[in-house]
Symmetry: C2
Subunit: 220 residues, 2 copies
């Protein structure tokens, strides 16, 4: 048999102050019943992107999810089935959509990247690679925003950044940077959370894209 | 037949103030005799990285070349032979080494990315993607340095940046930024080029790596 090509999918979300990954229980050999990130053998009639999108849709039923090709893994002995090259993708699912992705009794679940169970093949390496990419991307792209619902408070925004970077950020400093970038659109809506209502914001996508093109960094 | 996996290689160098790519004349079908970037069908006993390295070595015989996986391309109809997924890599070859890579009468040549001939398959897209990646990388990595010989003048350094970015940079500004980063090690050697001898520099690799980890951007 020749070389098989698969697509592996690292689906991220931020929930309860943790960066989480969607794991499923494998229903095929090898490692049937073990936890894994979703995987799919691509068929001859779909492109890599199409295969990743279909897998993502099957798992999440979500619309408008950020999806990006991550890296291809092709070590000789990564898969006991034979020679399998996998093209890994990662997706960012806003927290409110992620809550609706339910295990359906299949044993699938959101698991924190800080406490991952053993995964099959070289999938731990793939997930780690995706976490690394996400952290880097946070500094010069809109990646952080993709994990938020459409409307969010500044505290929620900061919490997403803190969760992914794994460290506390100074609140005043964080807000000053966001102000400087001018990517947030304040709404005439407030949400009652703690003692006082918090203003809701939306994100000016085009403005951020323009900033990005100019090579502005976003370091925390 | 199933899906085939190939490795495509975009080999860059900067020569005569132009960003160049190494093109070969295909000696196999399809498109025999046409210009193409080097391509190799991976065999079952080599990893993706090994396949890319072997192809690179065959083409350049160079040691110590920067090599990085770029992206995987797998549209359904990209290759008339059938379903072929290619994992593209790009390599950066210092100018002095590039001059030694000779066509050997095979029709291979360094061609400027600004004046590429038609390429086979979707290779034009692959080359464009690599140029884009290289430009972006210039801003936050040591990519630019990989195209220089071990010892270089500040003018040569600036010329590499200008060539890849496709625009003139202010000399004083450029040198100030390099000073600020502190990644250059001045040598007690000079090279006679124009009217007066120009000092030679080497590059402090570790220092730059540390800076990079802190998320320092390098925008021009």
């Amino acid at each position: 048999m020749g070389i098989q090509v698969t697509v592996d999918l690292v689906i991220f979300s931020v929930q309860e102050s943790a960066l989480k990954v969607w794991l499923v229980k494998r229903d095929n050999r090898p490692f049937k019943g073990h936890l894994a990130i979703p995987e799919r053998v691509i068929n001859k009639n779909e492109s890599l992107d199409q295969a990743a999108l279909r897998e993502l849709k099957e798992e999440t039923r979500a619309r408008q999810v950020y999806l990006e090709q991550l890296y291809s893994f092709g070590d000789r002995k990564r898969d006991p089935r034979g020679r399998v090259v996998t093209v890994a993708y990662y997706a960012l699912l806003p927290g409110d959509q992620a809550k609706r992705v339910s295990p359906n009794g299949s044993g699938a679940a959101w698991r924190s990247v800080d406490a991952l169970p053993p995964l099959v093949f070289d999938q731990k390496r793939i997930v780690n690679y995706a976490v690394e990419r996400l952290r880097t991307k946070l500094e010069y792209t809109t990646a952080g925003f993709q994990l938020l619902p459409r409307k969010f408070t500044l505290s929620e925004l900061q919490a997403v950044y803190e969760t992914i970077l794994g460290k506390k950020l100074d609140k005043r400093n964080f807000r000053k940077k966001m102000d400087l970038l001018g990517v947030l659109k304040p709404l005439r809506e407030w949400r009652r959370t703690g003692r006082k209502p918090a203003r809701l914001y939306m994100f000016k996508g085009k403005k951020f894209e323009r900033l990005k093109d100019k090579g502005i960094l976003f370091p925390f």
